[in-house]
């Protein structure tokens, strides 16, 4: 997308550099992203602004082109790797500088399933959007989810599956939460390639999210409703 050879990142002004970061994310250029993050920080940018204006916005563009069939999975993975590298620089600083927190999420791939590319992308984008994310990894039995929600008291539980054979396990988790009387304490979001909206409804999830960007928007929307309800009750 961009001609990298002639560009000296430190010589770009802020606006040009942020635009260049969007291009570099699009092209999956990890080293350039880390360099640019450090340049903006050295120029006095607060970490939260670097995250949202440069990285999250860049990944939003990647997400749109993925949805439109312009980019494919390998390119999205490279972009995600670049964003992850940038977030590696920002994460400790975000904690120190008290960046806004939208909510908390526990997420994991269900039992019998070892696929985590989509789930990892959701985790990263949710972190980028200001959620605290506890990622349980892959192949999680219901006990793992219950233990994690007991420990972390998240606002949102996210479950992922890539296989037709493993996606029904999401219902096992939701039904167990119902049996324990805790289902309505959490927003349950589900996602994964073979899922669809109808499946999400059928198993009793709050929403099916077709990609990471939708997951973030859906999570934000639920958090906003929660705050509105709390305000109305107060």
């Amino acid at each position: 997308m961009a001609e990298e050879d002639d560009i000296i990142l430190s010589e770009l002004d802020d606006e040009e550099l942020v635009q260049q970061m969007h291009d570099d994310l699009y092209d999956g250029l990890k080293d350039e992203i880390v360099e640019s993050v450090n340049i903006l920080l050295e120029r006095g940018w607060v970490p939260y602004d670097v995250l949202t204006k440069a990285l999250v916005e860049g990944m939003r563009i990647v997400g749109i082109d993925f949805r439109d069939g312009i980019l494919f999975v390998p390119e999205v993975l490279l972009a995600a790797n670049a964003m992850k590298a940038g977030m590696g620089v920002l994460k400790p600083l975000l904690a120190e500088t008290g960046a806004p927190r939208l909510g908390t999420m526990v997420i994991g791939t269900v039992k019998g399933d070892i696929h985590d590319i989509g789930k990892n992308l959701v985790s990263m984008m949710m972190e980028g959007a200001g959620f605290e994310v506890y990622d349980l990894g892959i192949n999680n039995p219901v006990e793992n989810y219950l233990e994690a929600i007991e420990t972390h008291k998240p606002d949102i539980l996210g479950m992922s599956a890539l296989l037709t054979t493993t996606m029904p396990y999401m219902k096992v988790v939701i039904d167990t939460m119902k049996e324990k009387g805790i289902r309505d304490d959490y927003v349950v979001l589900v996602g994964g390639a073979p899922l669809n909206e109808e499946f999400g409804k059928a198993i009793g999830a709050d929403a099916y999210c077709r990609d990471a960007a939708v997951a973030v928007e859906t999570a934000k929307s639920f958090m906003s409703r929660k705050h509105n309800q709390a305000a109305a009750a107060g």
Binding site: V73, E75, L77, I114, N139, L163, A193, N196
Partner: protein, 217 residues
Amino acid sequence: MTSSLPDDDTLTETGLELRSRGRVLLIACGALAREILALTRLNGWSHIDLACLPAKLHNRPALIPEAVRGRIQRARKQGYTGIHVVYADCGTGGLLDRVCEEEGVSRIEGPHCYSFFDGNDAFAERSEDEVGAFYLTDFLARQFDALVWRGMGLDRHPELRDLYFGNYDRVVFLAQTEDPALETRARAAADRLGLAFEKRVTGYGDLAGFVSAAAQG
């Protein structure tokens, strides 16, 4: 059905139309063409025609249900009295089953071709022990470069290999035929993915029974 089988690249990219004067049409994934033809020829089922959609849909399962619907509707216009779908669910999350129900045609049971080649019951029983298995069939061993390596962009970005396959622990080669050359290719594929290798000879598994039932119906 007397025409010869095209090469594997054609089955992956274009698919196949083998029609003569059959009354029954099997609509299948291109990855199954060779095995279905072997069964129909062996049994002399000349009244069965075969239409295969491109095997590359394996990597874009969301496109499978409507592609199958389109071929079913065309088959009706072509006058077939029996239409059967030889696709497993193939990652369509039940949407292919809905198409088959709406169109009133049967589909071979199973979540993937790996499962029905292995035998759906046996495959389900083994599932907990094989959580980390990446399956190859004869066709996928032959088309590993096209469908897996290039299909997942590893020719351009080999550094993504461990992102895709880091959670797998082995390749399980489900062999439909005993073919040493194919086993060598499957083993080489496992090496390229950095995974251990296992081979299991399955024959045609549940596919044989489904094609036989379609031939009778």
